[in-house]
């Protein structure tokens, strides 16, 4: 990374690792992609990493060709995408840790070991976070792997997200000594270093997702000793009609019988109601976190493609 690139990047994008989490269905993937686009524009070599089995980012940014698991694909200049899948991460870890390839193969192909790994609680989470950590290192451990300036993780929903963040410490505590304990501590250190790592909660302005984002805001300091970096509220309805106009629209419903006109009046009123409710959600975030949320507008597009993500990145940049 060149110093000028860091200067151009807003604070949050100057970190090495961003965890993007939030309740299911709020648009984490979209926000992670928009952050990736912004960072790449600022000259940061950026990787967007999805946790397990979903290829939405690539579909959104690169069309339908589905890359192979674990591959790091360049979607646009300076913007890469990958998916992290625990089995692959484990094989990589074992190969990296064991001095002889044959020993790693022995483990990987042992059925007893496979069962053992599958059933060890939290191991999936640990391996995933371990891989995230590896991706974010200035010196990659993956043979031939190039370092990134920033890794944006499209993390699982909030509850599980916390399990991922806590996994290295849990294992370090449980193991106490040995390589897992040592590595667990190193990873935990990075995750809890605010200069290097930030956690971003994505929400919609609705009651339930906001509650979940605020729980994360409260629990991160308690459980991890770090502050939530930012709440990003996605799919905010624009304020299209003033209260006075809304009254006129409501009154017009009694006068108009043309059915297209009635449908349009109903649509305007429910948009107004939703927009008003959205402002309350945003206000809750502001009160609880002490600063306004970064926001993204709802897009009236049937599907999100590359152009929409670029547009959202523009909008995000203004409020981030």
């Amino acid at each position: 990374m060149t110093p000028s690139a860091a200067d151009r990047a807003p604070g949050v994008l100057a970190k090495r690792l961003l965890f993007v989490t939030g309740k299911g269905g709020v648009g984490k993937t979209t926000v992670a992609a928009a952050l990736g686009v912004l960072a790449a524009r600022a000259g940061r070599r950026t990787l967007v990493a999805e946790v397990a089995r979903r290829q939405d980012v690539s579909r959104t940014l690169a069309g339908e060709h589905a890359p192979e698991m674990g591959a790091e694909i360049e979607l646009a200049p300076g913007l890469f995408w990958t998916t992290i899948e625990p089995q692959g991460a484990m094989e990589e870890y074992l190969t990296d840790q064991l001095p002889v390839r044959a020993l790693a193969d022995l483990l990987i192909h042992s059925r007893a070991f496979t069962y053992f790994a599958a059933a060890t609680p939290g191991l999936r989470e640990l391996l995933t976070v371990g891989k995230v950590w590896e991706l974010s290192q200035p010196q990659r451990r993956t043979p031939g792997g190039q370092p990134y300036d920033l890794v944006v993780v499209d993390a699982p929903a909030t509850g599980h997200g916390m399990a991922y963040l806590a996994a290295p410490r849990t294992f370090a505590d449980a193991a106490r000594v040995g390589p897992i304990a040592r590595q667990g501590r190193i990873i935990h250190q990075m995750l809890t270093d605010p200069r290097r790592t930030g956690v971003i909660a994505v929400s919609t302005p609705d009651d339930m997702p906001v509650s979940e984002a605020l729980i994360l805001h409260r629990e991160l300091p308690r459980q991890m000793g770090i502050e939530l970096e930012r709440v990003v509220v996605n799919a905010v309805q624009p304020r299209r009609f003033s209260p006075k106009e809304a009254r006129a629209i409501r009154a017009a419903r009694d006068e108009v019988s043309e059915r297209g006109a009635r449908a349009a009046l109903n649509a305007a009123l429910s948009q107004h109601l939703r927009s008003t409710a959205n402002r309350r959600g945003l206000e809750r975030v502001r009160r609880a976190t002490g600063r306004p949320a970064a926001t993204l507008p709802v897009l009236f597009e049937p599907t999100l493609g590359k152009a929409e993500i670029e547009l959202l990145a523009d909008r995000l940049e203004r409020t981030l």
Binding site: R124, H160, A174, A268, F300
Partner: protein
């Protein structure tokens, strides 16, 4: 294809509402339970993580592991007619898991050993899969007790539909595996039972993980060994329940791309797991009336009451929503094509979040409408 949902659900005692996060599963589950209770059934709805205001509407102040009767006075006050009874609970996965261990443990010291184990504490807390297992186990318990005519389960917000379907078998298939038998066997016997290859595997494993961790995990598995038999039976019974002919899976989706893809994927998984698909509920559909009428005529009709400029903006707003309504129609067609029968119900987008009993009653009315198609 015009059917009444009530007819389609006749004879079903368990409805499992599945679908991706954010589609309104909890709301639909609650409305479904209200609709069944309205028709005279004694119904329990099991929710995992309801919105605070929804929980309040149902009179659920906190997590509790037993269903509570929703006060009929609440429905009366909201103008919702209920001939049966609605019971509701918010599942506490950790407590459910603990209760299960306590019940299955042969003695107090085994139970305490499991509870004190750090790995167990992780397992029953936040690790993916344990919520799913708890939910199905609770469902099984309620079903066995036979107190209710119908049970409605709101499934956990899972990124992976398989977590839910495979939850009962995942633990048992591991517990029956060689690794566990090795760790549970006395040291001398172990090498004879499993042979040298596996011994080597574990010596390599020790080297990778650090021996203390392995000790912790072994202790966990040994402690769990005491409850293993009961656990296996429980998981088998629970797995059987998901395939029972009195059970039905309802897939809930919104018209957006991701939930649609996930619904199709889930339908396919149900087929593979030989589990019964009951029907499709598409929530948050743009009102169909947006597709009616002609914008030019509508603009003309609005110009007088609103003035040209406001009329123009009202029409522009409707045109934005109309493009979503068109997408919705295409999504619904695709879903129907991919999922097939038995039924599809469309629930239109509500202007405000649905939390109070009156609006839940309206959604229930839409779900059970006679002309649902």
């Amino acid at each position: 294809m015009s059917v009444a949902v009530a007819t389609k659900l006749r004879g079903k005692r368990i409805c499992i509402c599945a679908g991706s996060g954010g589609v309104g599963k909890t709301t639909i589950s609650a409305a479904l339970a209200i609709g069944l209770a309205a028709r005279g059934a004694r119904v329990a709805v099991v929710t995992i993580d309801p919105a605070r205001r929804l929980a309040q509407s149902l009179g659920l102040a906190e997590l509790g592991n037993e269903p509570r009767l929703v006060d009929p006075a609440r429905f009366a006050a909201a103008g919702v007619q209920i001939d049966g009874e609605l019971w509701a609970m918010m599942l506490d996965p950790k407590q459910t898991f603990d209760e299960m261990v306590a019940r299955l443990a042969p003695d107090a010291s085994t139970r305490e050993e499991v509870f004190q184990n750090r790995i167990y504490q992780q397992l029953s807390n936040a690790v993916a899969g344990s919520q799913e297992f708890s939910a199905v186990a609770k469902l099984h318990e309620l079903h066995r007790d036979g107190q209710f005519d119908a049970l409605v389960l709101d499934t956990p917000p899972s990124r992976n539909a398989l977590d839910f379907l495979e939850a009962p078998t995942r633990l048992t298939s591991f517990l029956e595996g060689r690794a566990v038998r090795l760790l549970l066997a006395p040291p001398g016997l172990a090498s004879k039972v499993v042979g040298r290859g596996t011994g080597l595997v574990f010596s390599v494993l020790r080297r990778v993980t650090g021996v203390d961790l392995l000790t912790d995990i072994s202790a966990f598995l040994r402690a769990l060994g005491g409850v293993l038999e009961g656990f296996r039976e429980q998981a088998n019974a629970v797995g059987g329940l998901l395939r029972d002919r009195e059970t039905t899976f309802l897939i809930v989706s919104s018209p957006e791309r991701e939930p649609v893809e996930e619904a199709i994927f889930f339908r396919d998984q149900l087929r593979r797991h030989d589990m019964p698909f009951g029907g499709l509920i598409v929530n948050r559909v743009q009102p169909a009336e947006l597709l009616l009428g002609d914008p030019a005529r509508a603009r003309g009709a609005l110009a007088v009451p609103l003035g040209d400029r406001l009329a123009e903006r009202v029409i522009a707003n409707a045109s934005d929503l109309r493009s979503l309504a068109e997408r919705d129609r295409a999504s619904i067609e695709r879903l129907q094509r991919e999922l097939g029968e038995p039924f599809t119900v469309l629930i239109e987008e509500q202007a405000a979040d649905v939390y109070d009993l009156a609006s839940l009653g309206q959604v229930a009315g839409a779900l059970f409408a006679e002309d649902a198609a």
